[in-house]
Symmetry: C2
Subunit: 95 residues, 2 copies
């Protein structure tokens, strides 16, 4: 095996391990948003909360800088996840 192939495989194995962390962390995160959705439904409150979302965006943008990640990407990622949370709420509200 060439040096190139060995290095490529090592990086890909790390990426696969990190992706496992991402998937399980998101599974845990969606459990909490599901619980929040149920709490809010019981209290007749809206799922979306603009103030909370703004707080999260600011928080993640700062964290992204510490993690050497593009802060614009962190914001897009949060919005991507939140849109999934909203879709999930619709599913179990109508399901």
């Amino acid at each position: 095996m060439s040096d190139f192939q060995r290095k490529l495989i090592e990086h890909r194995r790390s990426i696969d391990r990190l992706d496992t962390i991402l998937i399980y962390t998101l599974g845990e995160r969606f459990k909490h948003t599901e619980n929040i959705g149920k709490l809010k439904a019981e209290a007749n409150l809206q799922v979306s909360d603009h103030g909370r979302e703004q707080f999260q965006i600011e928080r993640l943008r700062k964290l992204a800088i510490d993690a050497n990640l593009d802060s614009e990407f962190a914001e897009r990622l949060l919005k991507f996840i939140i849109s999934e949370v909203i879709e999930n709420h619709k599913k179990w509200q109508t399901g």
Copy 2:
């Protein structure tokens, strides 16, 4: 503080901690894709690799089921991250 407020705050604190994991894990993941990009550039190879991407999609879809996560979402997430990886490669290739 009401029971509702107390529970809401607890879930949100968990979400904030999980988001911290997500951001730092992604920071680490992008470091590996950056290194792969550099290796491939040295070897005059294309950044994108359809076979590898298909392997990752299948792998993440299976992991998503174990993590009680929607497998369609896992696939969309991977594609979202890969599109960012490709953007990053363009940036440092032209930068």
